[in-house]
């Protein structure tokens, strides 16, 4: 957070950035950061509920969870992990370039991030199609021939809930990043002010964080 409202930085500050109820830009940035982290905390707790449900049923059905996990496409899950990690890097770089007054490089990094996000969703679509084809589906729709032990349907309920909610977050993150790309192309972000971009980046990193836990817990039991 290098955006203290000093004389030099203030000159390049776009109009309408500093709200009248903040005494300085640094205080506004601090408040924005805190607000975003409070939101991220609620997101963490939202996913924690699903991870808790997962823990309960994995504890009760260890064989079923292991058997179902080995029928997921490990290679696709691994590639998706690499894709998301790299997209986190490109988001971090876009913020770095924005605060280095290189908006074009920042925009390129955001476009790369969006492409990685699309790749992730595409791979997830391939996986979901296979599940629908082999009927490894949640609850009463479960009719997977290869795993017929108690708890298998529960694994796929949790699998779809967790990856589905995560996928929704990927879509939401893509919308936020697209908007930020538009703002970056307009030249809104520079060394004087880049907090908006930084907060969007935080959201994307959270999406990555959730997947870091989903990957070993779903694909590598």
């Amino acid at each position: 957070m290098s955006h203290e409202a000093s004389a030099g930085a203030g000159a390049r500050l776009p109009p309408g950035i500093l709200a009248h109820h903040f005494s300085s830009l640094s205080r506004q940035n601090e408040a924005m950061q805190l607000g975003m982290w409070l939101f991220l905390a609620t997101e963490i707790l939202l996913f924690a509920g699903l991870f808790t449900g997962y823990s309960v049923y994995r504890f009760q059905f260890p064989e079923a969870f292991a058997a179902c996990s080995r029928h997921l496409e490990l290679s696709l899950g691994t590639v998706n992990t690499l894709v998301l990690i790299t997209s986190s890097l490109t988001v971090a770089l876009s913020i770095h370039y924005a605060r280095s007054d290189r908006p074009r490089a920042a925009a390129v990094c955001l476009v790369l991030t969006l492409l990685f996000a699309l790749t992730f969703l595409g791979i997830k679509f391939v996986e979901y199609s296979a599940h629908f084809h082999e009927k490894s589906l949640p609850g009463k729709y479960y009719a997977f021939e290869e795993v017929k032990i108690p708890g298998a349907a529960m694994f796929f309920s949790l699998y779809f809930l967790m990856t589905g909610l995560h996928g929704l977050h990927v879509v939401a993150g893509m919308s936020v990043l697209s908007w930020l790309l538009w703002r970056t192309l307009q030249g809104r972000y520079s060394s004087a002010y880049y907090t908006g971009l930084e907060l969007g980046g935080l959201y994307w990193h959270l999406v990555d964080l959730v997947w870091i836990f989903l990957y070993p817990l779903l694909y590598l039991i």
Binding site: S2, E4, S26, A48, F59, R99, I212, L220
Partner: protein, 138 residues
């Protein structure tokens, strides 16, 4: 919220100015973290594929926590964030730990009739002692 963050923290403001003055942020840490994340992903993949048994879950979670810490500290700039922000993040983790700990502790200490049908775990061991076999409902 505008008051809770920066109120009464003059040292923090000085620290921010120092950072701005130095202007020494480079992209190298991000690439280093990225390489570390790739390494840890490979480690998860290679150890996870072998199904190591008892310690597999602990190892996988340790690696995942390490990766998350790297993302949070470097990518999400928690390393340079204010104490208030860190407190929010740490508090959420405390509540996640409470939720997981007590729920798993509950499930782990149940006796057979309280577990779902077909659950193989926690049957004999957690069966209460005074209960005869024919008294336990299937």
């Amino acid at each position: 919220m505008s008051e809770s963050g920066p109120s009464g923290r003059p040292t923090r403001a000085l620290h921010l100015e120092d950072q701005h003055g130095a202007h020494a942020h480079s992209a190298i840490p991000y690439f280093l973290v990225w390489v570390a994340l790739l390494f840890f992903t490979a480690l998860t993949y290679l150890t996870g594929k072998q199904h190591l048994g008892t310690w597999a879950l602990a190892l996988a979670l340790t690696i995942a926590c390490t990766k998350s810490l790297l993302v949070a500290l470097i990518f999400m700039h928690l390393k340079d964030s204010s104490g208030t922000t860190r407190l929010v993040f740490a508090t959420s983790l405390v509540f996640v730990a409470l939720l997981l700990l007590f729920t798993v502790a509950d499930v782990a200490t149940r006796f057979r009739p309280a577990t779902p049908a077909g659950a193989p775990f926690g049957t004999e061991r957690s069966q209460p002692e005074g209960l005869l076999e024919h008294e336990v409902p299937e």
